[in-house]
Symmetry: D2
Subunit: 159 residues, 4 copies
C-alpha cells in the first residue's frame, strides 16, 4: 500500500518536474513546497542554496553514516557531492530539458566523523554546452577545512 502511494507521489513529482525549469523545481524543494527525494531524506541531506549553476547541500554526519572503521562511509560524501553537482546543473536546465549524470569522480582528503559538525558541499558549474555539462564541488566544515572534492560530467537532452 505504502508502495502504491509512494509510486503515485513519485510519478507526480516527476511530472511536476517536467513542467518547470530546474531552478524553479529546486527552489520549491528548498522552501519545502515540494518534498525532497527519498535518498536526500534517508541520508539527512539538506539543500540550502541554489542559483543558476550553483548549489549547496549540508549534512550533519552521524553513526548512521559510518563504515566499519569508525568514520563516515565514502558513500556519504559521494551522495552529498552528487546531490550538489546534480542540483547545480539542474538549475541551468530550462523547462523540458533534462540531464543525466554520466560519471562522477570524488577525492577524499580527510576522514569525516560526526565531531566535524555540519558539513557543506558547494557545487559550481565548470562548463555548459549544448549536449554536455561539467561541474565541480567541495565538501568543507564550518572552518572551511576541506574533506572531499570532485567533479561530474552530465549529458543534456530533451526527453
Amino acid at each position: 500500500m505504502t508502495r502504491t502511494i509512494n509510486e503515485e507521489a513519485s510519478s507526480e513529482k516527476a511530472e511536476a518536474r517536467r513542467m518547470m525549469s530546474g531552478l524553479e523545481y529546486m527552489r520549491k524543494i528548498m522552501t519545502g513546497e515540494l518534498p525532497p527525494s527519498g535518498m536526500v531524506q534517508l541520508l539527512g541531506l539538506k539543500l540550502v542554496e541554489v542559483s543558476e549553476g550553483h548549489a549547496v547541500f549540508t549534512v550533519q554526519p552521524d553513526e548512521r553514516h559510518y563504515n566499519g572503521l569508525g568514520i563516515a562511509h565514502g558513500g556519504l560524501a559521494a551522495a552529498l557531492l552528487d546531490s550538489a553537482l546534480g542540483c547545480a546543473i539542474n538549475a541551468m536546465m530550462p523547462a523540458g530539458k533534462v540531464f543525466t549524470t554520466l560519471e562522477m569522480k570524488i577525492n577524499y582528503v580527510r576522514p569525516i566523523t560526526r565531531e566535524r559538525g555540519e558539513l557543506r558541499c558547494e557545487a559550481n558549474m565548470i562548463h555548459v554546452g549544448g549536449r554536455v555539462a561539467t561541474a565541480e564541488g567541495r565538501i568543507t566544515d564550518e572552518d572551511g577545512k576541506l574533506y572531499a572534492h570532485g567533479t561530474a560530467t552530465c549529458m543534456l537532452f530533451r526527453p
Copy 2:
C-alpha cells in the same frame, strides 16, 4: 543515550577490526557475527561474497533510494560501489595494516529503478603494491545487464 551506546559499539568495532585481518573481519560481517556498519544498514546493502581482492555486495533499490527524477539517486550506486571496492581491498590487508580510499570514480550507464530487482556489485583488485592499491567494480542485475562501473585508488599503511 543511544548516541553513547552507538559510540561504544563503534569503538569496539574499530578495535575488533584492528585485531584481525581484513578478510577475517569482512567474513564475520558476512556471517552475521559482527554487525554491518551504520551506512550499510541504512541503505540496505548486503555483503554476499568476499575473498582476497574480491567482494560482492547486493541491494534491492526502492523509493527510499530515489532522487527527484523517479530513479535511484547517484549516491546509491556510489555507496554500493564504494562498499564493494573497499571490501575487496580490505580483504587483502593483513592484521595491523589498513587502507584509506583516496579517490573513486563511477560511470552511470543505465538508470536504476526498483523494477530492476536486486542489483549486484562485484569488485576486483586491479593492482596492489606496498603503498597503493586499485580496484574496479561493476553493478549488474540478475541478467548481467550493466548499470554502473568504476574504480578506486587506495593508500595502504600501518597506523
Copy 3:
C-alpha cells in the same frame, strides 16, 4: 608550404574517415594503407590489433618521452591509453557515426622507463549504448606487469 600540404592531407584523411566505418578506417592505418595521425607518429605509437570494441597499441619508451625525474612523462601513458580507448570505441562506429571523448581517467601504478622494453596498451569496450560508450585499458610490459590503467567516456553522434 609544408603546412598547406599537411592541411590537405588532414582534410583528405578526415573525409576518408567519414566514408568508411571506424573499423575499416583503423584497419587501413594498421596495414599502412592510410598514414597514422601526427600525434601517433610524433610519440612513436603503433596500432597492432583492432576488432569491434577492442584495440592494442604499443610503444617503446625512450628519453624523448621522459619528464624531469628520469622516467616517462605521464603524458606518454595518457596518450597511449587515449589512442587505444578511442580506437576500441571507433571500431564500433558504423560509417557516418562518430564519437568524441568526454573524459578519460588514468591510474599510474609503476614508473615507465625505456628499460621496461616495449609496452602494450590493450583497450576493451565496457558499455556501448545509443549515445554513450565507455571503455577500459591497461598498459603492460612483455611479462604482463601492469604500469597504468584507465577508462574513458565517449559521446556518440552523427555529425
Copy 4:
C-alpha cells in the same frame, strides 16, 4: 652515442633535481638554466609561470599533435595538464621530498585545433597533506574559452 649522452644528461638532471626544492628546480627550467624534459620538448610545451602550488604551461597546437579526425589528439591536452598539475605540486616540495602521480582525470569540453592559437594550462593545488596532494587545472585559449579541465592525485614521500 646520442643515447649515451642523453642518459648522462638524464641522470645529471635527476641528481640536480634532488639537491634543490621543487620550486627552485622548476624556476631553473623556466629561465633556461636547466633544459626542459624530453617530453616537454617533443610536444613543444612551455613552462611560463610557477610559484608554490601554482603553474602555467602553454602550447601552440599544430598538425603534429593531431589525431585522425583533424583535431588535436587527447594525449596533447592530457600531457599539457599532467605537466602543469605535476609542476604545481612539485613547487610545494622541499628538497629531498618527491611526489608521484597516482592518477589523473581529464574532461574534454571543446576540440583543440591549431586555429585556436596558443593554449594555456593553469594548475592550482587543491589540497596538500603529509602524504597526499591534489590539484586541478584548466586549459583555455587567449579569450579564456575552456577546452579541457582535470585533476590529479599525488603521493608525497622521501625516497
